[in-house]
Amino acid sequence: MPPLNFSIILPLLVLTVWACLLLLVDLFVKNKGITALLAALGLAISLGITLSQVGATGTSFNNMVVLDGFSTFVNALLLVSGLFGIALAYGYVKRMGIERGEYYTLLLFSVVGMMLMAQAADLIIVFLALEMLSIPLYVLAAFARPNVNSEEAGLKYFLLGAFSTGFVVYGIALVFGATRTTSLAGIVSAANAASSGTSSLLLLTIGSALILVGLGFKVAAVPFHMWTPDVYQGAPSAVTAFMAAGAKIAGFAALLRVFSLAFPSLASDITPIIAVISALTMIVGNIIAIAQTNIKRLLAYSSIAHAGYILMAFVPYGQKGVVATSVAAGLFYLVSYALTNFGAWAVVIALEKAEGNPSTGSGQRGLEIADYAGIGRKHPALAAAMTVFMFSLTGIPPTLGFVGKFYLFRAAIAGQFYLLAVIGVLTSLISAYYYLRVVVTMYMREGEPETTSEPWLNLTWGLAAVLTVIVSLVPAPLFDWASQAVLKLF
């Protein structure tokens, strides 16, 4: 057995140790703001190491963990998401009276799980990472206890999450049964060796489909999306923001890697399934979103819909010539989604209030879309930022969301999935309707909105809005990085 090469997981390792120490340090820190800053510092250090590893490759732990361009890209994105998550939570938890030091530690552990997911080269590690990222999220979702909604969100997420993990484990077991290995590289060669029509290939197909179900749950793809609106609505907004971006990134990282590496030979069976899931997710997510009046539920359905778009990126995963660009498209879209998502949730948090205001009559806690009336006049910068996010989620230039969709649809068209591409654009049109409703409310209806202004929060939405526009005008470096990231994968 070769010696363990810890440099492969150095960012991960640093963050794990940091989180453990932070748990102890937090006991002696009265001001939880310091815990938050320390947690952010840990993420920043880990991000620094990750960025220094750009271009490095290698495997370790008996080929169970891998470091390559893909994992570096995803890890960097996850760490930045973690930083955004802390920036959003910093003032929010104080305001909502749920400030506890564990918040930040849990968030760090969840990021550790997500990063492990991106580096997994073995199904066992995938499972380990899945649990590692999920369990802190279950706790975080219920963090606002004894708030009933938050408790319900936590419990619901936990029960359904545990259920879906069961699918993943069973899928892994079947795959192991079919191929006698859990390593992604081993599965490929075993699958190639098995001639078609044998029972082991059937087991492999079923196994991979079950893994798809489990991961589909994590990324909130239809029909495994039922938990999303309730959990997103019930969980504290800062948690939801982090969950919506982080869990999605990690889930897709796993899907992209596992399917395109381990199961390309099953493409003829799996591709139609993914195509249907992708189409359904776009359609259902966008159509149900129309009926929402609560901004958190609206963003929840929007997040479901976006899972459908990203799924589009790896519908053509079995086509040799297309897979690299389409996975790169998926990565690019994850960046654009994460950025826009954090921006939008930052605005939601800026309007959310701990207590209802009965005198205004509309909504209780600033979470109804109607509560956004009049922001355009009273807080022009905030409204402009939210407008940028809404346009970006719709895919209107000049925003990052447009460039991301352009890239995604290219993958679908290059893979000759024209119908899927048409469904994609038509559902984008539907989405324009409900995203614009938020804009309409902000600019074209009168109201007396109450907002909170906190430095970190303002920084988050301000930065996200500026980047959403600027990066869309100079997307070449990001494109380049995304395509470099997948270069060595195939």
């Binding site: 068209i413 290059a414 614009l436």
Partner: protein
């Protein structure tokens, strides 16, 4: 620095400088805001005149080209590519010309949220100019979609009572078309390997069946924008609810983006499909001409009447373009300009009277000519121009189009021109009907109504005259001596139609 000093780049993005300055002026200094926006758009107009002086009319190709690699990684080949030729120069001038006029028209009409209004307006100008100049499909699409955003706000915030509905309808309709175009653009980018329009034209070689699909996808975007019958239903709502300046720009420039799109992309990129589709489009155009005219006559609201007359007039433009011969296309381009001038002027005039009376119902007007003689005279000239009276601009455009349609070998039937000519007659009916109701006969109830509020209906003031006179100059100029305008576009149009003949021959 070299990048921004390219004449076309400078012209496109100069209004952004105005936006930047506006951001630093406090919102309650309304006149400072207005002057800033006006000066920014006037300088943009001067830049466009400078561009015109550098434009070589005898060269049919793209000129003053600004071309840089933009996104050329990961298999992409996207360029920042601006260029101007005979097909676009007049439309660009129309855009830069109408923008300051529209801003001038808002001087007293917009009192609420002036800063935002002007911001959106200047942003809109950037988008429109970019649409006419972009020679890379990706860049074009960005400008094209981007124009939606400011216009959506202009209608939605400063519009009439049903403004939110109208703004949303405008946005969704237009977006519905353009997303299909987006897919076609992607197809071209992937399978032809470039987004640059000249390169795509040079490459050609798309099989006719695929061409037809791509043609339809592009046509969906443009036909909604034009709007062609039966996709026009967003237009009356948008026009009626939009503020005056919004209507002027909507009718004057935004609709031309649709017809220009057909001209620049559908005809050049998919020549064979264009030949195949020409009869269908011509039929829809003729239906639009007659339907628009008929429905105009039935309106009780002045703005709605003008809106439906746009459907009719743009039917003429489409008929001219799809005659696919030099007369037809030249007439079509000129008619785009004419419609921009005449309809723009009509909306301005309607806006001016609406500012005083706050109603656009015919039935309350009457006998205005006596009360406001200057207004009446100008209104008459513009109306006559809109209905195509010889000596004014509308006639030249419509006549050339009818000639083109009549002699078209592709359409190959006199009936198109025959039915379209009916539209000219019907235009006279609804326009004169409107004029008669408003300006002749006994004084309408509104005159008394306004008088009751302490001040009589006033005639046009100096600012309003300054706003409208430039339009009148061009209405007469084009009507009496259109040669310079044809001269600007002729070589490019000839080049375009020559490419057609080759394509049509290759198909036989």
């Amino acid at each position: 620095m070299e990048f921004i000093l390219q004449p076309l780049t400078l012209m496109t993005f100069f209004p952004l400088l105005g936006v930047l300055v506006l951001l630093f002026i406090p919102g309650d200094k309304k006149n400072a805001l207005r002057w800033t926006a006006l000066i920014a758009s006037l300088i943009t107009f001067l830049i466009s005149i400078w561009v015109l002086t550098m434009f070589n009319a005898s060269n049919p190709d793209l000129q003053l080209v600004a071309k840089y690699n933009w996104i050329t990684v990961a298999g992409w080949n996207i360029q920042y590519y601006l260029g101007i030729d005979g097909l676009s120069i007049l439309l660009v001038l129309l855009t830069t010309f109408l923008s300051p006029i529209s801003i001038l028209s808002t001087w007293t009409a917009v009192e609420e949220r002036v800063k935002e209004f002007l911001l959106f307006f200047l942003l809109l100008e950037v988008g429109m100019t970019g649409v006419f100049l972009a020679q890379d499909l990706f860049l074009f699409y960005i400008f094209w979609e981007f124009t939606l955003v400011p216009m959506y706000f202009l209608i939605g915030i400063w519009g009439g009572p049903r403004r939110i509905y109208a703004a949303l309808k405008f946005f969704l309709y237009t977006m519905a078309g353009s997303i299909l175009m987006l897919l076609a653009i992607l197809w071209l980018g992937i399978y032809q390997g470039t987004f640059s329009v000249p390169d795509l034209i040079a490459k050609g070689g798309i099989d006719p069946h695929t061409q037809l699909w791509l043609f339809i996808a592009f046509a969906a975007a443009f036909a909604i924008k034009v709007p062609m019958w039966p996709l026009h239903s967003w237009l009356p709502d948008a026009h009626v609810e939009a503020p005056t300046a919004g209507s002027v720009i909507l009718a004057g420039v935004l609709l031309k983006m649709g017809t220009y799109g057909f001209l620049r992309f559908n005809l050049t990129l998919f020549p064979q499909a264009a030949v195949q589709a020409a009869p269908v489009i011509a039929v829809l155009a003729v239906i639009g001409i007659i339907y628009g005219a008929a429905v105009s006559y039935a309106q009780a609201d002045i703005k709605k009447l003008v809106a439906y007359s746009s459907v009719s007039h743009l039917g003429f433009v489409m008929l001219g373009l799809f005659a696919l011969n030099p007369q037809g296309i030249q007439g079509g381009i000129l008619q785009m300009i004419n419609h921009g001038l005449s309809t723009g002027a009509l909306f301005l005039l309607v806006g001016m009277i609406y500012e005083q009376t706050h109603t656009r119902e015919f039935k309350v007007y009457g006998g205005l000519w006596k009360v406001t003689p200057i207004f009446g005279t100008i209104f008459l000239i513009v109306s006559l121009s809109s209905m195509g009276l010889p000596g004014l601009n509308g006639f030249v455009g419509e006549f050339t189009i009818l000639l083109g349609a009549f002699g078209s070998t592709v359409l190959n039937s006199p009936w198109y021109a025959g039915f379209a000519a009916l539209g000219v007659i019907m235009a006279a009916v609804y326009i004169l009907y409107m004029f008669q109701k408003m300006f002749m006969g006994p004084e309408g109830s509104i005159v008394e109504e306004v008088r009751k509020h302490g001040h009589a209906l006033r005639d046009l003031n100096w600012r309003e005259i300054v706003t409208i006179v430039p339009l009148l100059i061009f209405i007469f100029w084009i009507g009496l001596y259109p040669a310079p305008f044809f001269h600007l576009m002729a070589p490019s149009v000839d080049k375009l139609t020559a490419a057609f003949q080759a394509a049509a021959l290759a198909m036989r």
